[in-house]
């Protein structure tokens, strides 16, 4: 009995964290998992009867004769989502790395100002910020209007409601998530290592490639994960900038819970997204272990 008390006491400090994770992470995931195996209610919600239909629907469709036929529609959506998420990661990396490098090279006081500037977009609602891109990208928007006034084009370019617009919106939204971890890695980087590389016959670019980037790799990977995960499940940018024309996984999930009223299918999709993310993380963990503590060569 006393031993039990001892054990409880020694673990008491862990209770808030455990409760927090349990309540706000494990329980919701379990609810989604359970929902994904139930039948859809008529007006949303679920009926308490077991059904694997939701998962079946991911790949198969019932035809007129009630036969299961392979239907790649959702698979295509999943691939498109992964593709757009990858493009977003690459875009964020290309934009974010130079920014992070620039900030890390500034004197200490100025760095903090720049970091504050990076976080400023978060002060405005995401919906409004994404909506602004419509004003920029649409046929009568800033870009098309400007180009037409300059006489560079005769007819407006199709910018809005494309996959490119979605990727642009996602890059815009998530680039701070890329900048911050890369900055953290670069700030720790010993500048004298760059001098050592320069001394050993490397110009700026060669030193960047062989010393700076490899040493910033943990930050680059952390940033990529931080961008990839929300980009995969995002629905605001795909909805507003993609016009709902090209469905993405995130929009699809949102649709199932709202207008389509198929909660089990939405839950199943959410589980699939989570599984995809976990597989990616596992692959990363495996590869970094092989290469010794997150360092990539």
């Amino acid at each position: 009995m006393t031993r039990l008390v001892e054990t409880i006491r020694s673990h008491a400090a862990l209770i808030p964290a455990t409760a927090m994770i349990g309540l706000f992470m494990i329980v919701p995931i379990l609810i989604i998992l359970v929902y994904s195996f139930l039948a859809p209610g008529d007006y949303g919600g679920v009926k308490p009867e077991f059904s694997a239909d939701a998962y079946q629907r991911l790949l198969f469709q019932r035809d007129l004769f009630d036969q299961l036929v392979f239907d790649p529609a959702y698979l295509k959506i999943a691939f498109r989502s992964v593709w757009v998420a990858i493009v977003s990661v690459v875009g964020c990396l290309v934009l974010g790395f130079p920014v992070a490098y620039y900030i890390a090279c500034q004197p200490e006081e100025r760095r903090n100002i720049f970091l504050l500037l990076i976080t400023i977009p978060f002060w405005t609602n995401l919906l409004i910020r994404t909506y602004c891109w419509i004003l920029v990208l649409r046929d009568t928007g800033l870009i098309n209007g400007g180009l037409m006034k300059l006489g560079l084009i005769d007819a407006p370019l199709t910018l809005l409601y494309t996959e490119g617009a979605i990727a642009l919106g996602l890059i815009y939204t998530y680039v701070p998530f890329m900048v911050l971890p890369i900055y953290a890695a670069l700030e720790r980087l010993d500048r004298r290592l760059i001098e050592a590389a320069r001394d050993l016959y490397s110009n700026r670019w060669v030193a960047l490639r062989h010393v700076v980037i490899p040493l910033a790799m943990p930050g680059i990977i952390a940033g990529s994960i931080l961008v990839f995960i929300p980009a995969l499940g995002a629905f605001i940018a795909p909805d507003l900038l993609g016009g709902g024309k090209n469905l993405m996984l995130g929009s699809l999930v949102q649709l199932q819970f709202s207008s389509a009223r198929n909660w089990p299918f939405g839950s199943a999709l959410a589980m699939v997204i989570m599984a995809m993310v976990l597989i990616c993380l596992y692959a990363y963990a495996r590869s970094s272990k092989k290469n010794g503590g997150g360092m990539v060569h």
Partner: protein, 353 residues
């Protein structure tokens, strides 16, 4: 003798208010195949000079030549000069072998060739067994030797060493001195060594440049620097010295501030002019009686191989005499005992400035 590095009126001023004149006006020639040391206290400009040679800084004015070619404005990667950094700066994400091969690969040597030369360099510093390790798996002394191998591998024309021994403990430092000397002889590369440790400088260098406040105070071989320092700064910075203000009496006689007369070397200083005399404490002899400056032992500092005796002179003033102990290890005088300090005229140096 060919000059490896030539400086003419080289200056470096860092902007600011007031601007920092890190290097004021350096004229210097470093010979090929020489072990040359830049010696001075921190902030004397020796590191600035080294960084100018390496190409990490651009001079404000003046010329910097490498075997006759002006290199003052070449970026570091275009100079056949390599550096051993004070904190080694090994690439933590590469194996020891890759670190050493780094410069060779950048010089577009083939992978096989780079690895072969790198392995040879590791042999040279007795670390061939560690080639697959990461730098953080090595001790400080081993990292030091990897840094050396890495800088030597591309066979630079000049090797710069920035206080490379300062982070090592005493025993290791002493063995590394011999090692550096050996490497310099074996490779025939000109070494420019920066240190604030005078003992290190005297032990290893062919020639030394003593620096202070951004200026080169004196250039010479270790014995000249130690025996005939040109000014008080050099005399004080290298080794220990007893200084006296004195008045030249003409010929070899000098009148000390306390009224006593000391015989020294002949000087051109005019009769009655003020001079500074000094001698090295180990060049004076402590006696029980006889001729010399009489006084009383005020303090004793036991140094192991010798002992410092601080003598209060009877006529005023004090000086330090360094003396070997008796063969049985006992001191030659105790605190409070009356002694006579005999200073050989040949040991006395005269500074007229």
């Amino acid at each position: 003798m060919t000059s490896a590095i030539g400086l003419t009126g080289l200056q470096k001023t860092y902007p600011g208010s007031p601007p920092v004149r890190a290097l004021r006006n350096a004229d210097l020639t470093i010979n090929d195949n020489e072990f040359f040391t830049l010696l001075g206290p921190s902030g004397c400009g020796k590191t600035t000079l080294l960084r100018l040679m390496a190409g990490f800084e651009v001079p404000t004015a003046g010329e910097l030549r490498l075997f006759g070619d002006d290199i003052a404005h070449l970026p570091p990667e275009k100079r056949p000069i390599n550096t051993v950094f004070q904190h080694y700066s090994l690439f933590p994400h590469m194996s020891v072998l890759d670190n050493v091969a780094f410069g060779l690969k950048r010089l577009r040597k083939s992978d096989v060739e780079a690895k072969r030369v790198a392995q040879e360099m590791l042999d040279l510093v007795h670390l061939s067994a560690f080639s697959a390790r990461k730098p953080d798996q090595l001790s400080g002394g081993q990292q030091q030797r990897v840094a050396l191998a890495r800088a030597l591998a591309p066979h630079p024309r000049v090797l710069l060493l920035d206080e490379p021994l300062s982070a090592l403990d005493l025993k290791l430092r002493q063995s590394m001195r011999a090692e550096l000397k050996r490497l310099q002889k074996e490779t025939g590369i000109t070494f420019v060594f920066v240190t604030h440790d005078q003992e290190e400088a005297l032990a290893m260098s062919d020639r030394i440049a003593v620096m202070s406040q951004g200026e080169i105070q004196q250039v010479g071989d270790p014995a000249t620097i130690y025996e005939f320092p040109r000014n008080r700064f050099v005399a004080e910075f290298i080794g220990d010295a007893d200084f006296f203000d004195a008045e030249a009496l003409g010929g070899t006689g000098y009148k000390l501030a306390n009224g006593e007369t000391l015989i020294g070397p002949e000087t051109e200083a005019g009769i009655g002019s003020k001079v500074t005399l000094f001698f090295r404490p180990e060049k004076a002899t402590l006696k029980r009686k006889g001729k010399g400056l009489s006084g009383q032992v005020a303090d004793i500092l036991y140094l192991g191989n010798s002992t410092d005796y601080v003598v209060e002179l009877a006529q005023g003033g004090s000086l330090t005499v360094r003396s070997e102990n008796h063969k049985d290890g006992t001191a030659i005088a105790d605190v409070g005992s009356d002694v006579v300090v005999d200073i050989d005229p040949a040991a006395v140096r005269v500074l007229t400035t």
